[in-house]
């Protein structure tokens, strides 16, 4: 039999009966296959005529209604058959098309494929033949907008995984890259806007006012203006200088101005709503009602099945309805909000502040791939052929400078604080090498934080491996420097040379402590994310809280102590040495490292730990109390004050948790046990796998399970349940105290808080407030348990107040 599809005619022979007959010779279960084609390959097979798998079946049903056979008509064909119009479109038609295109844009941002979003619009497949100028311009702009976001933002940021984004597939769709440039779209949109404004003016001057046409034209003008501003804003991100291909500086003031204009426009735009009933009106006139009859000429403009045959076989074939315009415009409003908020990253001038911002932003805003990519590219703009670690922060500050500056802030190593020492080449190389290598995991940290949360946790565990190498390297650098600086300091021959201070400097592994500090931050965040993602089972809680408190937080408390001690003890001496040599060196900084980040020091001279009182250009400033980098009043002894308060709070909470868990276990009040008959996971095996990311670190050193059990024994097993309950109560109270004092200090100095959710390390204000409530509740419950209340009742754990710590429930 003959069949013609498109331009080809096929001569088919029906072999069904022969095939079925031959199959009868096969025994049950035998499969005939080609040598290289195994059952594994066969899994991607499609069953013909199965509507879930065979695309043709769906199209067949779809087209059956259209009675046009099995063919997708091209735009020229549709025009020829007068099924769609491409000239003299009315404002209403244009508004509808615009809103539909905007809806496809939203869905694409959400992760749906181009084939099922933008390119379901038939116009977009052949824009040059469209006669209508506004329509042509709008179509080009949407294509360029999506292309720019894809190429310059999503692909450059490289943050996506399969589940986020299917945009690497372009199906040979046209992007008109040679036909029209981005800037041309912007000027074309302006021209459209101007022409429409002229038209609007003339409409308003007519003797008989056509109010509906006036409204429609006005609404169209708003939309075109919106598109121009939105596209303009998008183009400013990761903007590359055309000639040099170098990153241009992100002009956030300009962007904020445009965002404000966009916000105003969004208030004016009335989203369209297509109705069957001609007489329908919108309550409070919020929507622009469009009767379906006025769209007759463009009824075929969108076809969800247009590209169906091109979709890869195993693809997600769900055809979703386009999102309603009212939802789309709300979504765009929230995008603008998120963008505005995201631009705050520009005033994060230390790694710590940037880290806190990234953590806070990803937790609270739950940003889409688009926004996450913008965040990464705003902080670390991409440069052709440049590794992540070689990028400049905000396109301005070299990453190594930032890292060195961070080290100086944290623990004032002599290498980065003594201005007037000359460092030999070997030491410079040694140091520089270390700083360069440090950039890799630190830049990766920011990269990891921009992934979706599930992937972030995975990436953090990989990061810990990188940090373990860095720990090794830092130890070596410290060893190298120890003897070196002792000499220098002795030579300084200060009258106030304090033997104790000298000893301290000699003993301290500056760079190791710094790397350890960040390692611990990552370990803590990794562990807490496990709670955020609901990964821990109730049977694990005891080990998790114990590890968290007694190994991680305990070590971190000591690191802060060390750092605070160093800052308090050695800063005066370092300042003295600098002052002493200043005259001799004629104020020429000879320490090459200090020279390198001198501009950073100057920018933040108020916050520099070595604020040199002799150097003040404004003597009046001396009198002011110094504000630390978070805008809070602090004195010299208050280094890391907030962080220390929070970490003590966490330590107390976790200690309380593991104490009461042990008590509950002893009193058989738990609903579960890992000694259940049908529980097949051995504690030792679980311990090893769960804490595997921590296994390679120098510090905190990895503990085999036997040792871990031993310290648990020493810590908890020697006590009676009553003693444990009491200790837990004490710890929860302490936690409450630490957290409340933290909050009090913040409210005293509120100037910089504004609309922010204030985050220190990875703990936000909202977190702290929840922790306090949990501590209070648990104290109450524990007091009841202490008194032997309902001794036969089991306890449950409720994580609804906060994922990190449960409330105990009777």
């Amino acid at each position: 039999m003959q069949e013609t599809i498109g331009d080809t005619t096929y001569n088919w022979t029906d072999v069904t009966t022969e095939f079925a007959d031959l199959c009868r010779n096969l025994p049950v279960g035998e499969v005939l296959r080609d040598e290289d084609f195994t059952l594994f390959e066969a899994m991607t097979a499609l069953e013909l005529m199965d509507p879930k798998m065979d695309g043709g079946m769906s199209i067949k049903n779809h087209f059956h209604e259209q009675k046009h056979g099995n063919r997708t008509l091209t735009l020229p064909q549709l025009i020829e058959k007068k099924l769609v119009k491409t000239s003299s479109l009315t404002p209403t038609e244009l508004i509808h098309l615009f809103d539909q295109l905007l809806s496809t844009f939203h869905m694409w941002l959400d992760g749906h494929s181009l084939a099922l979003t933008l390119y379901t619009c038939v116009y977009v497949h052949d824009i040059p033949i469209i006669e209508d100028y506004p329509l042509r311009t709008i179509c080009y702009t949407f294509v360029k907008l999506i292309d720019y976001i894809r190429e310059r933002i999503l692909l450059k940021a490289g943050l996506f995984e399969e589940e986020d984004f299917s945009g690497t597939l372009t199906y040979n769709f046209p992007f008109y890259r040679d036909t029209i440039k981005d800037q041309t779209c912007l000027s074309d949109l302006k021209k459209c806007e101007d022409e429409l404004n002229k038209r609007l003016r003339s409409l308003k001057h007519e003797s008989e006012l056509n109010q509906s046409e006036i409204n429609a034209t006005q609404q169209l003008i708003h939309r075109i203006r919106f598109l121009r501003l939105f596209f303009g804003v998008t183009l400013r991100f990761n903007e590359a200088n055309e000639k040099t291909n170098e990153q241009t500086y992100l002009n956030s003031e300009e962007i904020l101005r445009n965002l404000k204009q966009i916000d105003e426009l969004l208030l004016l735009i009335r989203p369209s709503h297509v109705v069957d009933d001609e007489t329908a009106t919108s309550p409070d006139n919020a929507e622009l009602i469009i009767p379906i009859s006025s769209l007759a000429d463009i009824a075929r403009s969108f076809d969800p099945y247009y590209n169906y045959r091109q979709l890869p076989p195993a693809f997600n074939r769900f055809i979703r309805q386009l999102i309603l315009p009212s939802c789309v415009y709300t979504f765009l409003g929230s995008i603008c909000q998120q963008l505005r908020r995201m631009l705050e990253v520009n005033d994060k001038r230390t790694l710590k502040q940037a880290f806190e911002f990234f953590v806070e932003y990803s937790t609270n805003e739950k940003p889409s791939l688009f926004i996450r990519s913008l965040l990464l590219l705003s902080y670390l703009p991409s440069v052709q052929g440049c590794l992540l670690s070689s990028r400049k922060i905000f396109g301005q500050i070299s990453f190594t400078e930032q890292v060195k500056y961070e080290m100086r802030l944290f623990i004032v190593p002599p290498l980065l604080t003594l201005k007037y020492i000359t460092i030999d080449q070997e030491t410079i190389n040694y140091g520089e090498n270390f700083f360069q290598r440090a950039c890799v995991p630190f830049s990766n940290l920011f990269y990891s934080l921009c992934n979706n949360r599930a992937r972030t946790r995975e990436k953090l565990s990989n990061l810990l491996d990188e940090f373990s190498v860095l720990q090794d390297e830092s130890e070596k650098l410290d060893q190298w420097l120890h003897k070196y600086f002792l000499q220098h300091i002795l030579q300084a021959n200060l009258s106030t040379l304090n033997a104790q201070t000298l000893l301290l400097i000699e003993k301290t592994s500056y760079f190791f402590q710094f790397i350890l500090h960040w390692t611990l931050l990552i370990m803590e965040y990794y562990l807490l994310m496990g709670f955020d993602l609901s990964l821990y089972s109730k049977r694990e809680l005891y080990d998790v809280y114990f590890y968290f408190a007694q190994i991680i937080l305990f070590t971190h408390i000591n690191v802060y102590k060390t750092s605070t001690n160093i800052l308090n003890t050695t800063i005066p001496m370092l300042i003295q040495i600098n002052q002493k040599h200043q005259q001799i060196s004629k104020n020429q900084t000879s320490n090459i490292f200090v020279q390198q980040f001198n501009s950073l020091i100057q920018q933040h001279s108020n916050d520099d730990p070595l604020m040199d009182s002799a150097n003040d250009s404004n003597p009046g400033q001396k009198k002011n109390k110094r504000k630390n980098l978070n805008g809070l009043l602090s004195t010299n002894t208050d280094h890391h004050e907030q962080e220390v308060a929070l970490i003590h709070g966490h330590f107390a909470m976790s200690t309380a948790m593991h104490r009461c868990l042990k008590a509950l276990e002893l009193e058989r009040r738990l609903r579960f046990s890992s000694t259940d008959a049908n529980y097949f996971l051995r504690d030792e095996i679980r311990y090893r796998h769960r804490f595997l990311p921590f296994a390679n670190l120098c510090a905190p050193p990895y503990m085999p399970h036997a040792d871990f059990l031993h310290i648990q024994n020493l810590s908890d097993n020697r006590y009676t349940p009553k003693e444990l309950y009491q200790d837990a109560i004490n710890n929860f109270s302490q936690a409450k105290t630490y957290f409340e004092s933290y909050l009090n200090r913040l409210t005293i100095s509120k100037q910089q808080t504004l609309n922010r959710t204030f985050t220190t390390s990875f703990t936000s204000l909202a977190d702290v407030e929840s922790y306090i409530r949990i501590a209070k509740t648990n104290c109450v419950v524990l007091k009841l348990l202490l008194s032997g209340h309902k001794s036969d009742m089991k306890i449950d754990f409720d994580f609804t107040l906060h994922a990190h710590y449960p409330t105990l429930k009777l």
Binding site: M43, N316, R453, S534, N678, F680, R690
Partner: protein, 213 residues
């Protein structure tokens, strides 16, 4: 279920011959002591599993059996595709069941022979070093739920995997599927990671894993 990249072990999954615990021991020459203790541990586990499976008084109405032939394929597919959300072609079922028939356990009604429950799993070498069991599908007919049939099928599957030498067992489950999550977690499976938007309908999943070594 994922489209797992099964490591080409060059044997086109003629796996039965190389999956006995004897062969596994001959591979770990220099770790004989370790593998001896692992074997003891495995024996221990299998004993535990045997006891569990025997302990429970079976409902006389039902009986458990292994996959025997393609004749059973159709009822398996009907049962499973009726309960799971993802669409699978017959070849997906065949891939698992033809290659690992001993890891496909079924439960039927004694009188009507109607298929009540089925578990489909595999055991493969992961990244050339790890012997990983994978539970691809588990389904129980609505009318027979809450009778511990699912746990028994899972126990049978785990027992067979351990018998053949297995380092870990994995599967994916939707974050909202409390029944499945409870079932597996009570057996010792932990949530190893969260998989964002894993399923076609955009829902997240957990990768559940039972570590045996």
């Amino acid at each position: 279920m994922t489209s797992e990249a099964a490591i080409p072990n060059g044997l086109d999954h003629q796996v039965d011959s190389c999956l006995t615990t004897n062969d596994k021991n001959s591979v770990c020459d220099d770790q004989e002591n370790q593998s001896a203790t692992k074997l003891d541990n495995d024996k221990e586990l299998i004993l535990k599993l045997d006891n569990l499976l025997l302990d429970d008084q079976n409902d006389p109405e039902i009986y458990f059996h292994s996959y025997k032939s393609e004749n059973e394929m159709s009822s398996i597919m009907t049962l499973i595709s009726g309960t799971l959300s993802e669409p699978y072609s017959i070849y997906t079922y065949r891939y698992f069941i033809h290659n690992w028939p001993d890891l496909c356990f079924l439960c039927s009604n004694r009188q009507t022979n109607e298929l009540i429950g089925a578990i489909v799993s595999k055991l493969d070498l992961h990244k050339k070093v790890l012997r990983r069991g994978y539970i691809a599908m588990l389904a129980i007919n609505k009318e027979y739920r809450r009778k511990k049939i699912a746990s028994k099928l899972v126990l049978m599957s785990i027992r067979e995997m351990i018998r053949r030498g297995c380092d870990e067992i994995v599967l994916e489950a939707e974050v909202n599927n409390d029944a499945a999550l409870n079932l597996y977690e009570n057996l010792g499976f932990l949530r190893e990671k969260r998989l964002y938007r894993y399923y076609l309908n955009g829902v997240d999943a957990y990768r559940l894993k039972l570590w045996l070594k």
